[in-house]
Symmetry: C2
């Protein structure tokens, strides 16, 4: 165990450069007694200044070619579900190298195949950095709660969305303005779809759910709704009701399968998730034996993500080789999506309705017809400058008692059919007990 | 790896019984492919009903004798820093058994010797359950942040104290009444010294600090102050100032050593630690690379603690054997306590002073003489029923700007020497940036 652990790093963005900085700054490498040496690197642009000394590393233009070099560990920090990331990880596993990756899209879409390859080659495949940045979410579910039944895993797993929602609330501004600002500050990509439409959260959730519930990874079987539909009016209403709106990934073990969902959720103020602001992430894990564990910390950023990469490398330097999913892939259950019928819970509904006699009665009638009880009904007239004529529409905000999502959807369709709704109703789930 | 992992459990209180329940309920044992069988048990009272089936286990009246049986793992849940716990763990390590323990006092006082024995015998010594119950604090520091520099570890690590402080605030009642109630409800021991005077927190902190800062465990070199001195007036004043009072264990890496302290601290409302209420624990870990991680969850209770015991057993069943302190004990630095000079920070001071001319001026003069600037001065006359004569004393509450603890102590001694202080001043540190 005293020989050098030789690593090859593919992708030298902020995470790659930060990983090298952390490795160079820590001479004892977690007390493993082994030197960790970066023997090879690969990136698109050889000339870019990255603030780290790469003179000792062999340069590869092609990460797939690098995967065949004489390193012990291949560190994939390229990103993306396919392309060079997939090809190089496959090549590295085929050549018998351990792989450390921060790539949630890759694992969410090709995880089971890659895990199978790693197990077949008897090499580790570690990916702590793929979920929630510096938060040791993977280890906590895989090891810290190993052998202890888990009932749900949920959390704020996308810093971009949480940053936008936090600013919308703090400054009362709209989604578009907030997104533009986040892009200017580097908290959101030029193409923000992946983050703000919930796909990034979905990938992370699918990985966590697999380990928590010992089922195969399946990112396809998921209802995904992002935060584009959230308006300042919703955030203000949430505040009045004692909630905050957060984009949550939620995986719950049910009697007939694993319910995986990503959607904006109203969470009670004062709860750990509601108080998680800005780019911070938080993961909540529940089980009968341990009630609830909450882990919070920076979910993104070069150094934060690199610290998770380095923890995986230190495991390898120490000679620890946990299985990719904690247990043999062959012992995992196939992923089962629960039967339709949907979520049961309380809902917030914002309905822009025509301001005409009978509209309110039609609304109440259709809710009652589906057996939906209303906890709160707030009727609001939008604020208009005095020199403008009054609008002929109003916004009605409803809060339901717990009901079936399918019943609510039928009621809303019936209300729309009455022609009293000016725009599509906006529904946000309420988590009473987070 | 398909043979049965045989374990012997010493101590069948709530944690022991809960551990057996969790093991019996989880047939796949974390996907290890190994059966975990309780082959031997030991406890004081053989006849007590524990709600678990012990028919397959051999009974030992003497845990030291059991340590020599043919089990693979000795699970010590007896408790206490010496006595049967120490003797049986030593015997188990001597006989080459892996040891899993929940015993913080044992590790804080004899940790280095036991770690040396375990390393000498090349067997694991695991103790996730010893710190913060179900929260994977040990793993997070030992593995999840391995190779990443840590600057501080601090937290709420005693559920009894946090329960008492939470109730004192919620109900405005005094320490003694709260303690009696906690004892009645089973949240505090008949002899509460160990918890309320901070020793339990100190033990846990010493263990965490050792792993975080790669120094030998030293629970002796610590300033420890418990919560007996906290009065409702302090809690009310904290609320007015925007803080909550929490008993924190705080370990910080300084230039000349590891500063370990246990004392009541005012933490800003809205911070994760301030919002940790009741018997919940929370651990905050900081480092430059990852800013701050916060882990919260149940810090005590049979099932919560058992879930940590089971995670260690699952590591062993999976064939993972992390080193007790993450790295070889021989590579640890000797514990170094920082030079005297004490803590620098802002302080809250409650001074019951005589209500006479000049008292206030004397107070201000002595603070100024030590260069201490005051951020707030609040003068309060205790509430008295109208039929009683007015008191001849007042309470002055001061909040200082950051200052050296030694300067404050000199100023308070000078103020006391002036004869204007009716009772000893009460000082609480303020953590501005938690």
């Amino acid at each position: 165990m005293t020989e050098t652990l030789k690593i090859a790093i593919a992708g030298l963005g902020t995470v790659g450069a930060s990983t090298i900085k952390l490795l160079q700054a820590e001479p004892t490498h977690g007390g493993s007694g082994r030197n960790i040496e970066v023997v090879a690197v690969s990136a698109r642009d050889r000339t870019r200044e990255r603030g780290v000394d790469l003179s000792g590393a062999r340069w590869f233009d092609d990460p797939v070619e690098m995967a065949g070099c004489d390193a012990d560990v291949f560190v994939e920090l390229i990103g993306g579900a396919g392309g060079a990331a997939l090809a190089s990880v496959e090549a590295a596993l085929t050549s018998g190298k351990a792989v450390v990756t921060a790539n949630k899209a890759l694992l969410a879409e090709h995880g089971m195949r890659l895990v199978g390859m790693a197990e077949g080659a008897n090499v580790p495949l570690l990916y702590e950095a793929a979920v929630a940045g510096a938060i040791p979410a993977i280890r906590t579910v895989r090891d810290g709660l190993a052998g202890v039944p888990i009932s749900s895993v949920l959390g704020i797993m996308n810093g971009t969305c949480n940053y936008i929602l936090t600013r919308m609330e703090a400054e009362g501004i709209g989604f578009d303005e907030c997104l533009a600002d986040a892009q200017r500050l580097g908290y959101a990509e030029a193409d923000p779809t992946f983050d703000v439409d919930g796909f990034d959260t979905a990938h992370k959730l699918a990985i966590l759910a697999s380990i928590a519930f010992t089922t195969e990874i399946d990112a396809g079987a998921m209802n995904i709704e992002g935060i584009r539909g959230i308006e300042p009016a919703d955030i203000a209403a949430a505040a009045e009701l004692g909630f905050r709106i957060k984009l949550l990934g939620i995986a719950t073990m049910t009697e007939d399968g694993v319910d995986q969902r990503v959607h904006p959720t109203m969470v009670p103020r004062g709860s750990a998730l509601a108080e998680t602001s800005g780019v911070t992430n938080a993961v909540s894990i529940r089980g009968e034996a341990f009630t609830e564990l909450v882990l919070s910390g920076p979910g993104a950023g070069g150094m934060a993500t690199a610290s998770a990469v380095v923890s995986d490398l230190t495991d390898l330097a120490r000679g620890l080789a946990p299985r990719p999913l904690g247990r043999p892939a062959s012992s995992l259950l196939p992923f089962r999506k629960p039967q339709a019928g949907g979520h049961r819970g309380a809902f917030y509904v914002r309905l822009p309705i025509a301001d005409r006699a009978g509209a309110f009665a039609a609304l109440a009638k259709n809710m009652a017809a589906e057996g939906i009880s209303l906890e709160q009904i707030v009727q609001k007239t939008p604020h208009r400058p005095e020199h403008l004529p009054p609008l002929d529409q109003q916004t009605v905000v409803l809060v339901t008692y717990p009901t079936d999502e399918s019943a609510l959807n039928r009621a809303l369709a019936a209300i729309e059919a009455e022609g009293i709704v000016v725009r599509k109703p906006h529904v946000i789930r309420i988590a009473q007990t987070l």
